[in-house]
């Protein structure tokens, strides 16, 4: 059975193809369109999934959309009505936005793919999150907790999933919290207040939180009160996200927390104002963690299960995930590599396969590499045409060479196999470097990533030695598989791992299993043999404002315009020459003109 899952229209559109119960392709639209967090209908992603798998649209058994668009429209309309007359500005925008495209999903799919309308199916948003979390996790029975900004009405759901001996499976969502009461919206409101981009920069709030003290927890608790049944409710007069499109927080919110940060002012943690913003971040982070831990703990007591599957954008918060693991009573916590809306494409397809069609459960390969393969030939061709130093090495020699370069303090662009599905670079589209000095972190920030100083970099090491360098609690290695948990760096290693140790002594660890990314694993071993510390700094291969690179040529163009020292794709190694920085245009033109004159071009 061939099922295509689609998520689109709000943020981070994606497509995923499931054949006979197993995912075979999945990619976010942004990786192909090259527009970060591209929300548009993922035509390029769909085309790639189908073309690469050799499947024509008419061969699909079903196309599953990740939410019920009319129900979502109902929520938007109802909220506008409830906010009357304050919603008068938002109303035309919301109606045009929804009626312009978003509610006509069946027609859009039919017109783009040419599949009969009867083959277009829908799941609810949080059911897709739940399926993405549960059906990709290697567990038989698990509690499920999904939390994000909002789907149709639900913002948080709890329930459980099970795989039965007969081969069938089930997801039972027991209850939900409804919009506008939303942990995701609470966090996003602070994201906007702190001058960051909503639905994009929430992780910056988490990074900034480590620099602050949770001195405003009581103020945050005025925004979110716990209800008698163990849920929570937002005090809506502090917010405007449910009434206007222009701003997330109200004047009352500003009265409580002070003036918002101007997005164009850098955060200076030496100033009172900078520390206030860090304290705000620390306070909302603390409240988010406590609320999630409480809900997870109650769910564990209710279900008596040992495993928890976490889904939804909130599950990208690694600090909260680690606290859930430590304090909720669950022994293992599973977070998929794409817990956000992109992952819903995969979740929707799996949900349809297992639950709508009743197909028997199949083990899903436990890795995130479902995207396009890197083609080293296009890299070597372009690099040679540009006069770059290109080498093609045997595997052993390549790994030794790169380990040596990393030990010498070089920054390596590392492209290997299929690209990751989800927001994290987990070893196939990564920038790697030595994790030992804070100068390296500063260099990465300054020359390559062009990002805020307060944001940490993540380490990658092998599962076998992770515990030597990091305080990984029982079950923590599972969270660290897809970089979904933040754990303390052991104090004795903090100075040796300065580039990946956050200000609070923590790190968002990736503990790599040999089977998941064997080449990176081998590189870690080779690096460990040289330096005695098999740990590398692993950050996504992109620069600020751009999606993670996908094709070899995208890696190459990134390599050419920032301070990456080496680029590796397959067996090809490109080394930056001192003179090989892109020349100014005038110089490039002069060279080309002289070349034309001499008949070279």
């Amino acid at each position: 059975m061939r099922i295509l899952g689609i998520s689109a229209h709000y943020h981070d559109a994606a497509a995923a193809l499931v054949v006979d119960g197993v995912p075979i392709r999945a990619v976010q639209e942004e990786r192909l369109s090259r527009h970060k967090n591209d929300p548009s209908f993922p035509l390029a992603a769909i085309e790639w999934c189908l073309d690469d798998a050799g499947i024509d649209p008419e061969e699909l058994d079903a196309v599953v959309f990740y939410e019920r668009s009319m129900l979502k429209f109902e929520r938007i309309l109802t909220c506008a009505l409830r906010a009357f007359p304050r919603s008068w500005r938002a109303f035309p925008h919301a109606i045009k936005n929804s009626l312009g495209e978003k509610v006509w999903v069946r027609g859009i799919i039919a017109s783009h793919l040419g599949v009969p309308r009867s083959k277009t199916l829908f799941t609810s948003h949080h059911a897709a999150h739940a399926a993405a979390a549960f059906f990709t996790a290697p567990t038989r029975r698990a509690a499920i907790l999904t939390a994000d900004g909002v789907g149709e009405w639900a913002t948080l759901t709890v329930g459980y999933g099970e795989r039965r001996d007969k081969g069938d499976s089930a997801i039972n969502l027991l209850r939900e919290i409804r919009y506008p009461h939303s942990l995701g919206m609470l966090y996003s409101t602070f994201t906007a207040y702190l001058g960051f981009a909503v639905n994009e920069d929430e992780y910056k709030v988490m990074g900034l939180a480590a620099y602050g003290r949770p001195t405003m927890v009581e103020q945050v608790r005025k925004l979110i009160r716990r209800t008698a049944d163990g849920a929570f409710a937002l005090s809506t007069d502090y917010f405007e996200f449910h009434t206007t499109a222009a701003r997330s927080y109200s004047g009352k919110f500003i009265d409580l927390f002070g003036a918002p940060r101007n997005p164009f002012d850098p955060i200076d943690l030496e100033t009172t104002e900078g520390r206030r913003f860090a304290d705000c971040a620390a306070s909302v982070q603390r409240v988010l963690e406590e609320t999630l831990v409480d809900i997870a703990r109650a769910l564990q007591r209710e279900t008596g299960l040992r495993d928890l599957c976490l889904g939804g954008g909130v599950a990208l918060n690694g600090v909260a995930n680690a606290r859930i693991l430590a304090e909720s009573g669950f022994e293992r916590v599973f977070v998929p590599p794409a817990p956000g809306d992109a992952g819903c494409a995969l979740g929707a397809a799996l949900y349809a396969d297992r639950l709508y069609f009743g197909n028997p459960d199949r083990d899903v390969p436990d890795h995130p590499f479902w995207g396009p393969l890197v083609d080293a030939r296009e890299l070597t061709r372009a690099a040679r045409e540009d006069g770059q130093l290109v080498e093609e090495l045997e595997e052993g020699a390549l790994l030794n060479r790169i380990a040596g370069e990393l030990a010498a303090g070089r920054i390596v662009g590392w492209m290997d196999g299929a690209s990751e599905f989800g927001p994290r670079a987990l070893g196939h589209r990564s920038l790697l470097t030595a994790p030992h000095s804070s100068e390296m972190r500063d260099r990465l920030n300054r020359e390559i990533k062009f990002r805020e100083e307060f944001r940490p970099f993540a380490p990658v090491t092998t599962v076998e030695v992770a515990d030597r360098f990091f305080e990984v609690p029982p079950g923590g290695l599972r969270l660290a598989r897809f970089m979904s948990g933040v754990f303390p760096v052991r104090p004795e290693w903090r100075s040796a791992l300065a580039a990946v140790t956050h200000v609070d002594g923590s790190a968002r660890l990736q503990a790599l299993d040999r089977d998941m990314a064997p080449r990176l694993y081998a590189l870690l071993e080779a690096y460990g043999r040289r330096t005695g510390i098999p740990v590398l700094l692993n950050t996504s291969f992109n620069v600020a404002g751009e999606p993670i690179v996908n094709r070899a040529l995208e890696g190459y163009s990134t390599f050419r315009r920032c301070g990456i020292d080496l680029l590796v794709a397959g067996q090809a190694v490109i080394t930056r020459r001192a003179s090989a920085r892109p020349r100014p245009l005038e110089e490039e033109m002069a060279c080309s003109e002289s070349a034309v004159a001499s008949g070279v071009e």
Binding site: R34, H35, A44, R68, M70, L81, R82, F84, P85, W88, F91, P92, H93, I95, K96, V103, V105, R106, S118, L121, F122, T123, A127, T157, G159, L173, L174, R175, E176, I177, R178, H181, T227, G230, A231, A233, A246, R247, N262, F264, D265, P266, A382, D386, G545, E546, R551, L553, S557, R560, R561, P582, R583, P584, L585, E588, M589, S592, V596, E601
Partner: protein
């Protein structure tokens, strides 16, 4: 030939119009908030344009064009950085004037090269488009450079970018002539026509959006109130906290509700 004349008149009219509108530009740039907003918008547009050209560098099969596009993209991204830094500096220098500037209104947008489709487009079309766009930008930036003479730092940025734009304008033309020696003039005219058409579409879309917003706002105040009253009454009856999901609820596979 007649078509060419019409376009020539249209484009020279556009340049004339820009010059005639110099007092308007003066007025726009004389206000602090508008100035900052303009600079931020330019930063965004240059950044998006830079990424579009970068995409072109990744897609072209022509090695020389790849190198030129890459250098061009780096220029554009640098311009974006200059605009961003200048607007941030202005905001810092006169914080009092900026209150409310970014709180209530979404930042001005605009995506790069007039939403030009890069993937699958031939180089000659992109070069022609870039040439026309850079030429127009150079004309505009020359005017802006002149009207911000009370602000030497902003003026210096326009001056620097103007020089780059002129160079971009020239290299795109030279390269277009290289890859399409027989028909490069035609491509330039076609790019001009396409630009005019897109400008018309933008204006038409903006007008339609205004008309739509007015109609919907009228409906909001005329039709919505009774439904709003019902919605508010229903909201009051809702209790916060957990909402149980019935165990026997059957998820419909085909319903959008």
């Amino acid at each position: 030939m007649l078509t060419f004349r019409v376009f020539a008149m249209a484009t020279s009219f556009s340049a004339y119009l820009d010059r005639a509108l110099q007092p308007v530009h003066h007025w726009v740039w004389s206000d602090f908030d508008r100035r900052v907003r303009k600079l931020i918008a330019f930063g965004e547009v240059e950044g998006d344009g830079g990424r579009d050209i970068l995409r072109a560098a990744e897609l072209t099969a022509d090695p020389l064009l790849r190198r030129l596009y890459l250098a061009h993209a780096i220029d554009e991204l640098h311009h974006a950085d200059l605009f961003r830094k200048r607007s941030a500096a202005l905001l810092r220098s006169r914080r009092a004037h900026s209150s409310g500037l970014f709180n209530a209104t979404p930042l001005p947008g605009g995506h790069g090269l007039d939403d030009l489709k890069i993937d699958g487009e031939p180089d000659h079309r992109l070069l022609a488009f870039l040439h026309v766009a850079e030429k127009a930008a150079a004309g505009r930036f020359a005017i802006y450079r002149d009207v911000v003479n009370d602000d030497p730092l902003t003026q210096a940025i326009f001056d620097k970018i103007l020089r780059d734009e002129v160079f971009h304008m020239n290299y795109t033309y030279t390269q277009l002539a290289r890859i399409s020696p027989a028909s490069y003039r035609r491509y330039v005219w076609r790019a001009r026509a396409s630009r005019l058409w897109k400008r018309y579409l933008r204006i038409a879309a903006a007008l339609a959006a205004i008309v739509g917003a007015v109609m919907l706002t009228l409906q909001y105040f005329i039709l919505v109130p009774p439904f709003a009253w019902l919605a508010k009454r229903a909201e009051r009856r809702e209790k916060s906290g957990w909402v149980p999901i019935p165990h026997d609820r059957v998820e419909s596979a085909t319903s959008q509700y």
